[in-house]
Symmetry: C2
Subunit: 246 residues, 2 copies
DNA sequence: CAGAAACCTTGACCGAGATCAAGTGGAACC
DNA sequence: GGTTCCACTTGATCTCGGTCAAGGTTTCTG
């Protein structure tokens, strides 16, 4: 019975695009899930899990943005993942979190208590399969990002990040993709720097440069317009206009 | 029946430490597997799969080392993964390879034709589960490496790489872990540079520096002795002496 | 053994990005 | 309205690692 409830392969009419189990559609009408599923909200800046903590839930982001961060003893930090709505958090079969998870913006998460979720996964091959596919997606994204971190210049890094956000944003509000893409940056300059392996000053300078060169337009500090996505992607050194994942 | 053959959870007596399905123990005596499982050998430098190619098999490394590499149009390359013996290659459910796979040394792989392997996976929850765990391990490793690429200095990068190789090597030949660790570098300076996001000159210089400072000892260009693993790990800026994975 | 081809080392110089420092703009709070 | 705080920008300088160049070793080949 539980199984049936989670076994939707596609929920295309749901406002959240599911990539895994269906966690959102039928939120209210299923009382019998109360003890396994629940919602949590976090404020911007709040830490959801500290590295090393026991994690007794898995879940997915409903709205807002979370980040996965690793920190060295001397304080250097590197963001290792960015969780946008519909992204999955948690590691079935693992006890401790390997990095900090923080709410970058105000955040709503749909959580499942870990043990029952694992049971569900073990008895529902479809869910295990979905989870594997999602983990492979994350692995692809992480490796794509290794190229960005290891080999791209500061300008290319910024362009790469803007590309990703623009693309994810565009696909979440699936308009007919008109030429100019408009969105609000969900990250501070410092958070971008942590993601890109740069300093916040360099981020600021490169954004200014891209603006001066007409690759992007800025209104205030966060509101971005991309007049020509193709030019941005050229700047990112990334002509494989296909499968860039976050 | 097939299922039973693959359903060994542990094969500790096998020379290859399995992290997933048991692919090696019973290589010869199972004729009925002939059509799904086979061995392939590659010479050092040979490309196993080109990025974008169809991949009609999955498998694991039996001996030797393979690398996963991404390349930009202008020739900049970044290694995004290093496959040591027992590591798994391939992406169940995916068609094309997302990066080049190359034999760094002479290599033996144990391959399974992809379609039957996927069928096996779908009917054997244990295998799917194992695969998920392995993919999570790889994801952890990739994210750990993002910190290396994004935030560590050249010297720390080299020390990190040597740590990883030393640890993997030590666990494959599980002696009682005597104080000095000895191994042969399986990578050229250029391959190390590609893994670390450096140039080969910088790699060479930093190795020389670590040698001068007594952190490592070199005999020839490849034979490394680490007198004190703890010092090396300090140099790597990596005091979490626990779970560093490749 | 000579010659060539990898692979590696070392030096000199340069530049992208880090660091240090000052200043701007806007929102919140009294 | 003024003060404070925070996020951001911009400038000046420094430094780590890249680039270019030369030379050394080892191994393979004729």
């Amino acid at each position: 019975m539980l199984k049936a409830q989670f076994d939707h392969t596609n929920c295309s009419d749901c406002p959240i695009r599911h990539r895994a189990v269906c966690a959102h559609c039928d939120a209210d009408e299923l009382e019998e899930l109360e003890d396994i599923k629940y919602y949590r909200t976090f404020e911007a800046g709040q830490t959801i899990i500290w590295s090393g903590d026991q994690m007794n839930f898995v879940g997915s982001v409903v709205s807002g943005i979370a980040s996965l961060t690793q920190t060295m003893e001397d304080g250097r930090t590197q963001m290792v993942g960015l969780l946008l709505p519909s992204d999955f958090v948690g590691r079935p079969g693992r006890e401790a979190a390997p990095y900090d998870v923080q709410a970058t913006t105000d955040l709503v998460m749909c959580c499942f208590r870990k043990k029952p979720f694992e049971d569900l996964m073990n008895t529902t091959p479809h869910i295990a399969h979905r989870l594997l596919q999602m983990t492979l997606d994350e692995l692809d994204a992480a490796r794509e990002w290794m190229l960005v971190l290891g080999r791209k210049t500061a300008r290319e890094k910024i362009a790469s990040l803007l590309s990703i956000i623009a693309r994810r944003d565009a696909s979440i509000t699936p308009k007919d993709k008109p030429a100019p893409i408009v969105f609000d940056l969900p990250l501070t300059r410092e958070a971008m720097a942590d993601y890109l392996g740069l300093t916040l000053e360099t981020v600021s300078r490169q954004i200014s440069a891209l603006k001066k060169d007409g690759i992007i337009q800025l209104e205030g500090k966060r509101h971005v317009t991309i007049p020509d996505m193709r030019r941005l992607m050229e700047e990112a050194g990334d002509d494989s206009d296909g499968g860039f994942l976050v």
